[in-house]
């Protein structure tokens, strides 16, 4: 069984990313459950989705039980750490979306060094990825989420095949499919090579 904890900010395409994981799991003949955030929380707030692949009944991932944390935003990576253990792989976009509380309450957005130190203390390993840059280079700046799906696939942690992810992307992405496939492949290469 594999537990993937997806976090980010409303509007980053996290539901689409989790749905691609779900479709890929079904294509491989595995059981899968996803939980999603809809409604009020989506308005620029912290968003959490879960994907559990395997023989499981409940969709939520308890504290310390995530096998992979797939984060779309650095501050949200920190917020997700209670779900990590020393067995957890953290794959995070290096994108920073500064929340309004930083401006209004004069709080500080932690530095990349602090974030790295925290993640490395709480999890097995940390793979930061410049998903926004890769997405822009792939020709669709909005495809950061697909880069992250590629990065997840490249870790090999899901037990799903690359082809199953690609087919799932075809099912969910109606426009600019070749560019999105490039975004996926670039994300895949990074983690495939790193691990």
């Amino acid at each position: 069984m594999v537990d993937i904890y997806l976090v980010g900010v409303g509007g980053q395409g996290i539901i689409t990313a989790s749905r691609i994981i779900g479709d890929a799991a079904i294509l491989s003949g595995r059981n899968v459950l996803l939980s999603e955030t809809h409604g009020m929380a989506q308005r620029g707030g912290s968003v959490v989705c879960t994907a559990r692949i395997g023989d499981v009944h409940s969709p939520l991932i308890p504290d310390g039980r995530a096998d992979v944390i797939l984060s779309f935003e650095l501050l949200e990576t920190l917020r997700a750490l209670p779900r990590a253990s020393m067995k957890t792989l953290v794959v995070s976009s290096t994108e920073r979306i500064v929340p309004l509380s930083v401006s209004t309450k004069k709080l500080r957005y932690p530095s990349i060094e602090e974030i790295t130190a925290h993640v490395e203390r709480a999890a097995k390993s940390f793979l930061p990825i410049d998903a926004a840059k890769i997405a822009a280079e792939s020709g669709v700046p909005m495809s950061s989420n697909i880069v992250m799906v590629g990065a997840l696939a490249g870790t090999g942690m899901t037990g799903l095949q690359k082809g199953e992810f690609e087919k799932a992307i075809e099912m969910s992405i109606p426009r600019k499919l070749p560019e999105n496939k490039t975004a996926f492949a670039r994300g895949y290469e990074i983690t495939d090579r790193a691990l």
Binding site: R43, G44, G45, L100
Partner: protein, 615 residues
Amino acid sequence: MDRVLDTPAGSKVLLLGNEAIARGALEAGVAVATTYPGTPASEIGDALARVAKDAGIYFEYSTNEMVAAEFAMGAAASGVRAMVSMKHVGLNVAADALMTFAYTGTRGGFVLVTADDPSCHSSQNEQDNRYYALLGGIPLLEPSNPQECYEMTKEAFEISERLELPVIVRTTTRISHVRGPVTVDRIVEGVKKKEFVKDPARFVTVPAVARVRHKVLLDRLREAEELSEESTLNRTERLGTGGSVGIITSSAAFNYAMDAAVELGLSADILKLGFSHPAPKNKISQFVRDHERIVIVEELEPILENTVRAIAQHSSLQAKVIGKADDAFPRLHEFDQAIVARGLRAALSMASEAVEETPTELQELPERPPVLCAGCPHSATYFAVNKATNKKALFASDIGCYTLGMSPPYSAADFLVCMGSSVGSAGGLAKVNDKPVIAFIGDSTFFHAGIPGLINAVHNGHRFLLMILDNRTTAMTGHQPHPGSDKGPTCCDITAVSIENVVKGCGVKWLKVVDPYDVKTTVEAVKEALEQPEVSVIIARRECALIAARDAKGAITKKHYIDQEACKKCRTCVDKFQCPAISSIDKVQTIDEALCAGCGVCAQVCPYKAIKEVE
């Protein structure tokens, strides 16, 4: 290709619980489906709106849940199959109709879907709508996952027609908003038209009829109980070798119980109740007899627990029943695997889990609550109201994106309980307070539940300002249309109802329509409105920024920037106004051009004219 409509029989497809309900209804041959959108139920209606035309069914977004339910009742009483879906608190609105519809019963299958929200992810309370089944005498089905959402919706129509009773299908957020595999069957075209056969002694519930029909309902419930006894939706699962421990559970709690029992290596039998009201008394009684200890695992209220205790008492059974009364499980908020594992340990006197040390203390992270979007017209309205009143007013708020105005810097909400409560409560606030009172209500919410409050204010002479925040859509739940919209789902022809005409028709004498992007005019209108001797109304009209951006396809030209030379670092743009595109880091305020929606309100907010349009 649409997954809900076009997935062929026999295939396995990934569906949201809500989409699975829509597919189930289509396979059951539903003819009429209605809803008022509300999280976590919205995607049932959205899925049906998408496919209604191709599927040849009638679908509508109704004005509110009561109208939606009554519409479906009219169709079902005639003999076609009808479904109405809503969030849990929507059923409070529809309850008046439902309680008596249980007396008349139905000819065509009638299914009401209620989606509850334990933990209040997107709601003002976490009421347990299983009580409505008990209150009304209505059969209740509780799916646990998308496959069951699909199957039980179909089954609900069968049960409804067999008993001639309405049937409730009750989900929760972690069922409606879970995506999982669903193996589907064939979509069946149902009967679309049926002549209503007159039978006033059944369908016109004057007292003489109601007294007779109440007995009919109780008789039917006895039949329902027999169905529940035989139903495969109430089934037993054995974990390990079974043994002396029995777990009784339903809904999302079943999922957590299964995973937690496996985690703990429990040998136990699990009685899963999918058809939970009327409860299968004999089945439960036998299950209790067969086990020494019975643990009840259910979210929110101890409804199964009390049912099981009553059955055990009535059958003089000695088994120990353990649940919320023993503090093994909380009555608050949604469960997860860890909460249920802890509860099972407590219930079964197992050693508690070794507490693992948390690796590092995290510093307090800057929180990221949901906020009004860049370019949101509500932001502009709240800034103007605060400017006009100097924050010396009481604010009665309502349900929608604009409720987010409760947070600083606007602090524009002092009272809120339900849809439409802004208008009614504003009268009471104004009667006993000397401060000016302003009620805020969205366009969709105004049609839903605001109009009776406005009529009351005119008729009884209450003095407050009602601001109707008209962004031309039901934004929070996913931009569904409402009676004021001129664009509906693709399936239906609709007529836009004018908010101005409704307001004038209610007898309001002072009405102004403003564009909230024009801050100065809005401030003046608020000041003038508050001087009126009776209820006054301002319609602040500007399309939702997300829709405007979508329709403009990114062609926004009025992006703004902060001229750092002109900026006096007064922080007005972050302390009195709020926009996700404006940030203040290390005492420097800047606008993120990528996020800027080009509304230009910040340029009017800045006292030093330091915010300028990008050339």
